[in-house]
Every structure is written in structure tokens, then in C-alpha cells.
Amino acid sequence: MRRYVDFWVISEEREKAIDLLKTLARLGYSDAVMELRGDLAGSLEELRDMAAEIGIRLHRKLVLKPGGRRELLRELRSSRGRFEVITVICESLEVALVAARDSRVDSLVIPPKPGFRIDKGVASTIRNCVELPFSWYLADRQQFLEGALKIIQVLGKRVGIIVSSASSSPLLLRGPRELASLPWVLGYPQEKALDTVSRTPLQIIERNILKLSRRYVARGVVRVGKENEEEIPADIL
């Protein structure tokens, strides 16, 4: 059975965070990646325990919106090892090209009017996944669809696409099937569309959890041998 992930949920207050987690569980998600803002930033472990009681595995996300290459690299350096998922909102080609190749970045968000062309040149350099935030679609459908169509057509064959809610309100959260309907309508086959809310984000999470663990040595190298340790699937290495 598929496990579903909402790759971007935003929360600033504890009560709202619990509401969001309950809604996510009801919608059928098993994992949530939350951007913790304000006072909530320091209470990850407490939230994680509450999420586990609700039936959700909670992961922490950092969203960066750098103005240039230097700023991006500085922010990545300062937050290394503290977040399970790092996403970069790319408002310029310079940022997009650096973020696309950096192994510390997990996903890129390309805004509806990015100020640069998404073409084969960009596609050939991108190694990280591209994320489509559904709340951006709800805010401005036409512009978002123009961009998303290009992303699916040009980048969709080379890189993984992830669809997330990117919302801080329970009423703006959508179920996995509803999120997957966006790439499905834009040309993905049904199974591949469902991967955008299950397999692709799950692989990133599993890989990053492994990277943050003590067992990780370097890319492709992990310490093995203890009896009680879980097996590591080859595709996340």
C-alpha cells in the first residue's frame, strides 16, 4: 500500500499545528514535512511526539528564498544537518542553477513568473526535485498552470516532481489524490502522478534521515552490521 507525504505544511502556532496534523491524518497521509515558523521553531520534538500519537511521522523543513548565490550558500552552510528537508524558492536563474545542483538542497520551487526561461539548458543542470505548491495554484490558477505545464513538459522527464499543499490552514490542505490530480491533468500517467505525493518525497525523506544518522559516512557509504538496525533500501543511497 502506498504511503503519502504532504511535503510542505506551514505552521506558526502549536494549536494550529495540531489541527493541521489531525486533518492530514484524516486525509490519509502518513508523513508530513512542516515548516515551523515563529515560536514553534524550538518545539519540534514535542510536536513530533504529538504527531506520532495522531499517526503522522513529522519532519522538519527549511524554506529558503535567497536573493543570490552567495546568500544561498551561506544559508545552506549555516543550517546544515538541522533539517530533514531543505527547499529553495528560486526567483532568479542564478539561484536556480546553484540550488539545482547542490546536494544539500532537496527541492526547488519555481515561482509562476520566474524571470528566466525553463528550457532544456536549465533541465540539463537540474538534479534536485521540483516542487509544485498547491496553495500557489489556488492563489493564481492561470499563471501557476502556465509555469507548471512548462515544468512538467520540460523538466518532468528528467527530474522528480513533488506536489505539496504549502498551506497553513486545514481548509487549504488537500488529500493525496487531489494533489496528484494536478500533474495527472497536466500529462503524467496516473501512477507517476501518485508518485509525486508518495514515492518521490518519501525517497528524499528516507535518504535525509539516513544522512542525519550516525550510520552515514559519505555518499553511498553507510556503516552496517548491528543486528537491531534496519535494512537500507538501495535506491535511497
Binding site: L27, F134, Y137, L138, R141, P170, L171, L172, L173, R174, G175, R177, E178, L179, S181, L182, W184, V185, Q190, A193
Partner: protein, 110 residues
């Protein structure tokens, strides 16, 4: 011999609960704004049954338009000017199947 048109039935609930006819109209209007009048006409989108208490509806659509119907429902953010969300709870190829799913959902809530 002409083949029978394949259809899918969707169980959609509104949050907070709204009148089933309003829910169906909202989905149709969202579908029309996304895919146009021709799209709506070819989708075969129709209200089959409504449940006042839950604010839920069973909608029918052509199999080809299933992802579009789901996206149209997911696009709805307000009904009658009030903030709302539509949730696709189940999809089935038969009415019997979708009613069975509804019964299962009802029993899990109580």
C-alpha cells in the same frame, strides 16, 4: 456495436457541510472555469445522490474526465462566499461500490 461509456462515481464531502446541490453546482462551475463549456459537456458530470447531513454528494463523470473532476473539486476554496474545502472521499466504478464505501466511512466515524 457501440461500446458502453465508462464512468466513475465520486464521493465528495464539503467542509463545512453545505447543501448537496450547492456542492454539485460549485464543482461544475469550477470544472467549467478550468476546462471550458466543451470540457464540461464532454465530462458527463452529474449529481447522482446528495446527503444533506454530511454535506456529501455522489457525482458521476466519464472515466476520461476523472482527473479533471478531482482537480475541479480540489480547486474549490469557497461556497456561497464562505471558506470551504471539498474532499474526494472515494472513487468507484459502480454506484453500489460507492454507497458501500460511504457506509464504511459512516461506521468508522461513529
Amino acid at each position: 456495436m457501440a461500446r458502453r461509456m465508462k464512468r466513475r462515481y465520486l464521493l465528495i464531502s464539503s467542509e463545512p457541510a453545505h447543501h448537496p446541490e450547492r456542492v454539485a453546482e460549485t464543482v461544475k462551475s469550477s470544472y467549467k472555469s478550468l476546462f471550458g463549456e466543451l470540457g464540461l459537456a464532454s465530462s458527463d458530470l452529474k449529481l447522482i445522490k446528495g446527503y444533506d447531513r454530511e454535506g456529501a454528494v455522489i457525482l458521476r463523470c466519464a472515466l476520461d474526465s476523472l482527473p479533471r473532476a478531482i482537480l475541479a473539486a480540489a480547486t474549490v476554496t469557497e461556497i456561497d462566499g464562505a471558506e470551504a474545502a471539498l474532499r474526494v472521499l472515494a472513487i468507484s466504478g459502480t454506484i453500489r461500490g460507492i454507497i458501500r464505501r460511504l457506509a464504511r466511512l459512516r461506521s468508522s466515524y461513529t
